[in-house]
């Protein structure tokens, strides 16, 4: 909710008029208006009720707005989000408690419906009692039709909502709701038509109406089909045109520019190789990539960091990432450490340089490998802070661990960073399968314990006197090893 208030106070960020999927009682119209105008939702609701009670216009307005206002296209965040944006980015904003409260109490809606019905029936009975003719013969069927329509529409609305939220309800229940809605409408219509007439008469009328309807449909069908297919074709053509323009624009901005640069710099092989490699990566990520924002997800951040190092030093780096999660503080530290390790690998090691990052349910593990001569952590001069500070120190400060292993040939830097908080994005999947909800407490405990250790460590490293504990292999910077 804090976020909504902030958005309302700034004049240029008025939310579009949409119907939120959460924090709503009926269809979210009042909540949507409240968010849009920037007033308390209760005020809007009371206004609607008063206007509805006095003249009925409120009810009509509500139904109209319900039909015309689009559903908010988010995963619970209090603002409309471009559907083209990655889902992981949207999942960054967990739904605020007040909003989720709305969906958590369907009993409230039921109570409300019962109350409204009671008032209606009571009102009718009262009017009847005072002698006013409310013409129940018309009113009741109309009421039935209205209720049935609302039930059916609500189902339509729910399916649409399910598409945005990705939470598919029970299909059978939805069908049942639709059937009940249609049934109630049919009953109302029947009651309306049979008012004071025999069933046989109604049957004749119904048959006549039906035949006219079928006849009209037969005549109109070819035209309708033609119109529809024309419309579709036109739409397809437009989509293709847009796509083509998009591709052309990309080729022009990227590939053609690079080719021009390569022709001009043909006498500098290193430059050409760098350009070609960069362009290849860009084209590849455009063709096969997920277009994730490096500032949002860990996998994208690692890939971006590797790309940056590759550009700086013209050494190819193989990047393999499994899993993904939103980028948090620990993740950022890990990415920086990975970047530093990659820089070391391309500077001092020799290719092939590879990085493998495994983003698991409890922790992230990263492995940076090169095939150079390898180096001894203890042999690194004390004034060189690259390895000790940027990799080992950084990981320890953020509650992770770093190990450096000598391989034959090359060096492997192994970084582990436990998740600092339960993963809002990937965790539901893991939790549902592995029951890992208890795993969240261990990493947080580890990260809480880490600052004390790192303070001591940081201070000693600054003095330069103490050496990193001398273990044979692997060199472990924290007492515990990874596995």
């Amino acid at each position: 909710m804090r976020e909504d208030v902030g958005m309302q106070s700034s004049p240029q960020a008025v939310p579009r008029l949409t119907r939120p999927t959460q924090g709503r009682v009926l269809a979210g119209v009042c909540r949507g208006i409240a968010d849009h105008v920037g007033v308390d939702v209760r005020v809007v609701r009371i206004l609607f009720i008063i206007v509805g009670m006095v003249s009925g216009a409120g009810i009509v307005a509500y139904l109209f707005l319900w039909a015309m206002t689009p559903v908010e296209e988010t995963l619970g965040a209090g603002r409309p989000i471009d559907p083209a944006q990655p889902v992981s980015a949207q999942a960054q904003n967990p739904p605020s408690p007040e909003r989720t409260g709305g969906t958590a109490m369907p009993r409230g809606s039921v109570l409300l419906a019962v109350g409204v019905l009671t008032i209606l029936v009571g009102g009718i009975a009262l009017l009847q009692g005072t002698g006013t003719d409310v013409r129940a013969g018309i009113l009741l069927p109309v009421l039935l039709v209205a209720i049935g329509a609302v039930v059916a529409w609500a189902q339509l609305d729910a399916t649409q909502r399910a598409r945005w939220t990705g939470i598919a309800g029970w299909r059978g229940l939805g069908m049942a709701r639709l059937a009940v809605g249609i049934g109630v409408v049919a009953l109302g219509l029947f009651a309306f038509v049979t008012r004071g007439q025999s069933a046989a008469q109604v049957w004749d009328v119904a048959l006549a109406t039906l035949s006219i309807l079928v006849g009209t449909a037969l005549i109109c069908a070819p035209f309708a089909v033609r119109l529809w297919s024309d419309f579709r074709r036109e739409q397809d053509a437009r989509v293709r045109e847009t796509e083509r323009a998009d591709i052309a624009a990309h080729l022009h901005d990227g590939v053609l520019q690079t080719l021009a640069l390569i022709q001009r710099g043909a006498d500098d092989p290193a430059y050409v190789v760098t350009l070609a490699r960069k362009q290849e990566r860009e084209l590849r990520s455009w063709l096969y990539g997920s277009n994730e924002d490096p500032s949002q997800t860990l996998a994208a951040a690692v890939t971006a960091a590797a790309a940056e190092v590759e550009d700086l030093h013209s050494v190819a780096i193989d990047v393999v990432v499994t899993g993904d999660r939103p980028l948090d503080e620990g993740g950022t530290a890990l990415v920086r450490a990975v970047r530093e390790a990659l820089l070391n690998a391309v500077r001092h090691g020799s290719p092939p340089v590879s990085v493998y990052v495994e983003i698991g349910p409890d922790a992230v593990e990263a492995f940076v490998r090169d095939h150079g001569a390898g180096f001894d952590v203890d042999a690194v001069p004390h004034d060189r802070l690259g390895v000790r500070e940027s990799i080992l120190g950084r990981m320890t400060r953020h509650g992770g661990t770093a190990r450096i292993r000598r391989r034959e040939p090359g060096t492997e830097v192994i970084l582990t960073m436990p998740h600092q908080e339960p993963d809002p994005d990937a965790a539901p999947r893991a939790r549902a399968r592995a029951g890992a909800s208890s795993g969240a407490s261990a990493p947080s405990a580890a990260s809480a314990a880490a600052p004390a250790a790192s303070d001591a460590n940081g201070a000693t490293t600054m003095n330069g006197a103490p050496r990193i504990p001398e273990t044979a292999e692997p060199t472990t910077i924290q007492g515990e090893s990874i596995r």
Partner: protein, 224 residues
Amino acid sequence: MTVRVVLVDDHHMFRTGVKTELLEAAPGVIDFVGEAANVEDAVAVIRKEEPDVVLLDVHLPGGTGHGGVDVIHGCVGVETAAGAPVRFLALSVSDAAEDVIAVIRAGARGYVTKTISATDLASAIKRVADGDAVFSPRLAGFVLDAFGVAAGEIAEVDEELDRLSAREREVMRLIARGYQYKEVAKELYISIKTVETHVSSVLRKLQLSSRHELTAWAMGRRLI
């Protein structure tokens, strides 16, 4: 024993380059018996020559438009003179998961990218000729992701098709980290033969598993 190889790729320059590099890097190991630039020629050449290994590009003109997959389907049942089935090693620039999964599930014994060094390619060809599987780090990463290993899913019994066993997971992780088979063997204190068995078993799972996430993953992420 030399390995008889047919090279299928629609780029003439690439075919020439691969041949030259391989003959230089591993002289006397590989015997190029034929090459083809499209699906129809490839099937004809493979049926005629009955090679040990086919180096297969994923994207090829001709056939029903499925490139390498069409070639594999067109050569079902073809055997070498020694009676072993003709084995396919996919070699591609494409990193798209749907390409990888399609060609592996069609029956390829391995998948390497065109950036592989000539020495590594030669040993990959040898390995495939011996009936083992070849996984690039990317393919290993893909397997780990698609089988939900990162999320902590581990098979209770090795025979389970939809999950990896703990050992297979370890092997895949090391391959994803860029380890050679012999390094994997040393790291896990097992023989190279055992590593090969594990990798072959993963390949089998990859080909036979009905795990829906394999396809969903490939379609959804379009990225290794």
